[in-house]
């Protein structure tokens, strides 16, 4: 007989299946040419934002700490991998080798920074943590915006002042040009790779949540003192979660930087961090599936509102408010739940009625 899967596992498999269906549907649309350029251009960003939202959900939903530094980690992943790709693009011409290496480098750099930042920061809790992570994100962004890196036959030149201070030889090439950022990164990101990485992110997240580590992390969220009293090393588990979040955000950054021709640090401001937090909150704190869906919907929404021109951002805000109310207000939600149950009851009744009728034949 069929073995009954546990609830968590079933939930994760439903998500995988849903995602797979959407990916296949999009693939079919792309291959048959039934897709607008705009939607096609949105595919990779949607995956990037979904990965960001899922990874932030680990910190916000599972660890229960508010982090506003997501854009900073994404920035580190984006920049480190773009530097790598620009350095090796002449020696490694095969994107299938170069890009996975870039992803690993971007992810690891972000994770290292996540852990370095996490050691002092995770001593704080609640609002304090949120503010400090926000500050760290801004520091990272501003450092990259002021950074000039070039290389020539003598090796790498780094300056924080201006392009002229690099003293590059005549064969030198700029890699990071201050606020102008990096340009010429090979466009290795494709929807297929982004989708696979999103899939892997989901697998990592679900397995993390349902693991021994994940349960320990959740126990810290639910009652820190109780968790400490049963011997859970709080700092360790917090750092693991924070590091994992940073790693995945870094990977998202890699996908992002290799999707566009140019990369500028000004993109990774606190607005981006807050946008990702909005995805998480709207999708339901702690819900992996919700994060993905919210990221996809809210990334597409402003683009589809283009037809109403200058009222676009106004409508976007209004829709956001309505969505937030609908998902958090108990009365509104109960209304939907009641009707949904009624509907469900009706369907089941019909089904069973049909079955008895069949038996009667």
């Amino acid at each position: 007989m069929k073995k009954k899967l546990n609830v968590q596992t079933r939930k994760s498999f439903v998500t995988y299946a849903l995602l797979l269906i959407v990916i296949i549907a999009v693939e079919i649309m792309v291959n048959t040419g039934n897709i607008s350029s705009m939607l096609q251009g949105l595919l990779v960003p949607i995956c990037v934002y979904a990965i960001l939202a899922v990874s932030l959900n680990l910190t916000v939903g599972i660890l229960g700490e508010l982090s506003l530094g997501q854009a900073g980690f994404m920035c580190i992943g984006a920049y480190s991998s773009a530097i790598f790709s620009n350095l090796v693009k002449d020696s490694i011409t095969e994107p299938m080798i170069r890009f996975p290496l870039a992803i690993i480098i971007g992810g690891i750099c972000a994770a290292v920074f996540g852990i370095i930042i996490g050691i002092p920061v995770l001593r704080l809790r609640g609002d304090y943590l949120a503010i400090v992570t926000l500050a760290f994100g801004e520091i990272i962004k501003n450092v990259f915006a002021a950074l000039y890196i070039g290389y020539d036959s003598a090796g790498l030149h780094i300056s924080l002042k201006s392009q002229g201070d690099l003293n590059l030889a005549s064969d030198g090439k700029m890699i990071i040009n201050g606020a102008l950022g990096i340009s010429g990164t090979p466009n290795d990101s494709t929807f297929e790779i982004a989708a696979v990485i999103l899939f892997i992110t989901l697998i990592i997240s679900y397995n993390f949540i349902n693991s021994r580590t994940g349960r320990a992390v959740m126990s810290i969220r639910d009652n820190r003192i109780a968790a400490e009293s049963v011997g859970i090393n709080i700092t360790k588990y917090k750092l693991i979660t924070f590091g994992l979040t940073a790693f995945l955000a870094g990977v998202a950054g890699v996908l992002y930087s290799h999707n566009f021709y140019s990369l500028q640090a000004s993109k990774f401001d606190y607005n981006l961090s807050i946008l990702v937090l909005v995805f998480v909150v709207l999708g339901g704190i702690g819900s992996v599936r919700g994060s993905v869906i919210a990221a996809a919907v809210l990334t597409m929404l402003p683009e589809y509102l283009r037809s109403i021109n200058k009222y676009r951002m106004l409508f976007y805000a209004v829709i956001l408010i309505v969505m937030m109310i609908c998902t958090s207000n108990a009365t509104v939600r109960n209304f939907f739940v009641r009707n949904f149950e009624k509907l469900k009851g009706l369907i089941i009744k019909k089904k069973s009625a049909g079955e008895t009728a069949k038996e009667g034949e």
Partner: protein, 394 residues
């Protein structure tokens, strides 16, 4: 609770699926509309219509529309009329600029006028290159913007502006001790600063204070101003946008610091800032190719038409650049007798050959403008001073 989540998930998924479907519908419509119409060429424009830099995007959009209407009223060129579609890119240097571009493509863009800001333009140039769309930007001024052979500029490149500013200050003996306040998080501002600095060194100008700020700290400039003041600068060079410049001017006044002020084309528009005391800007010099009160006939005609159409708004340099941009496209289309049913790539190949092949254009922002294959325009910069609340030529 669980049901609620499921329901939410379902409904969101439905919204998503629905939006996908509508997207397909739109695209097929757009595709159907553009093919075969030999008498319409679609010009796509992209710029910030919302957010901090909106004034530029709106000016470009308005002026481009004005130019398109004028051409169409006169019967088009060789019977071909133009249609302008304009999308908001929020001056974003990443995915939003690409989204706007993709939307334009879905709307059947054949020639691109844009983007307005440098950051967005850098994000888009590789796309126009791979799609082989002719691109002429009215105001994105970084050098990198024109690195592909299909992209051309109406405005000066940043290095040119920085160099021209230093030259102008040195040649006219305006000041010797110079302080600079620039935005080091902005491509435009730091681009000008870099070349200004190296040219100033060569011309023997003394930069006594280099002060920077970033996009996130652009409201309080007291630290930068006091540094410039204590360095006894005679001239404050502001290679920044007008929003910040208006604050700096006000804060300089309250700090009792009265140097000469000198800026680049980003300062254009400072007189239309809401609640800005225009007397503060008195005597500010800026390097811009366009002055709305210039005496020549073309400028006067343009300013009059623009004011009539857009509620007495005085057009700024961005508007003039955009107007020129559309007119340049029209002239080239006429020269090559391009029809609307040609493919984007065919149009691009013809236009980019035509613009470098002895083409010269007399417009609002310069006489005898010519383009070399690298995409940069050659024309003379004009210095403008603000006098009695108006821009007037120096």
């Amino acid at each position: 609770m669980k049901f609620a989540k499921k329901l939410m998930a379902l409904s969101l998924a439905a919204v998503m699926a629905g939006s996908c479907l509508t997207a397909c519908g739109d695209s097929s419509k757009a595709d159907g509309g553009k093919s075969g119409d030999e008498n319409t060429i679609v010009i796509g424009g992209s710029g910030p219509l919302t957010g901090g830099a909106a004034q530029y995007g709106v000016a470009v959009k308005n002026a481009a529309q004005l130019a398109v209407d004028e051409i169409n009223e006169a019967g088009g060129v060789n019977g071909v009329k133009f249609k302008l579609v304009f999308e908001d890119d929020e001056a974003d240097p990443g995915d939003k600029a690409i989204n706007a571009y993709n939307q334009l493509k879905d709307k059947g863009m054949q020639v691109m006028l844009g983007t307005v800001t440098t950051g967005s333009c850098l994000a888009v140039i590789d796309k126009t290159k791979s799609d082989n769309i002719f691109q002429i930007t009215p105001s994105a001024s970084a050098q990198d913007v024109i690195k592909n052979d299909n992209a051309f500029q109406v405005c000066f490149t940043d290095p040119n502006q920085g160099k021209a500013s230093a030259d102008y200050i040195a040649d006219n003996n305006i000041a010797k001790k110079i302080a600079v306040i620039y935005d080091n998080s902005d491509a435009y501002s730091s681009g000008i600063f870099n070349t200004f600095k190296s040219e100033a060194k060569e011309k023997g100008l003394d930069i006594v204070a280099e002060q920077s700020f970033t996009k996130d700290s652009k409201t309080d400039f007291s630290a930068q101003i006091s540094a410039a003041k204590s360095a006894e600068a005679e001239l404050l060079f502001l290679p920044i946008y007008y929003q910040e410049a208006s604050l700096i001017l006000a804060q300089c006044k309250s700090a009792d610091f009265t140097p000469k002020f000198f800026g680049c084309d980003g300062l254009d528009g400072i007189l239309s800032v809401d609640n800005f005391d225009k007397s503060l800007a008195e005597g500010v010099m800026l390097l811009t190719p366009f002055a709305a009160d210039a005496e020549d006939e073309a400028t006067q005609k343009f300013v009059k038409a623009y004011k009539e159409k857009y509620k007495d708004e005085t057009p700024n340099q961005f508007a003039a650049d955009a107007y020129d941009g559309v007119k340049i496209i029209a002239k080239l289309v006429e020269k090559e007798s391009i029809k609307g049913n040609m493919s984007k790539s065919e149009i691009c190949d013809k236009l980019k050959k035509a613009i470098t092949d002895g083409f010269s254009y007399d417009g609002l922002t310069g006489q005898g403008m010519t383009w070399s294959a690298d995409g940069a325009v050659s024309k003379n910069p004009k210095a403008v001073v603000i006098k009695d609340g108006n821009y007037s030529a120096l």
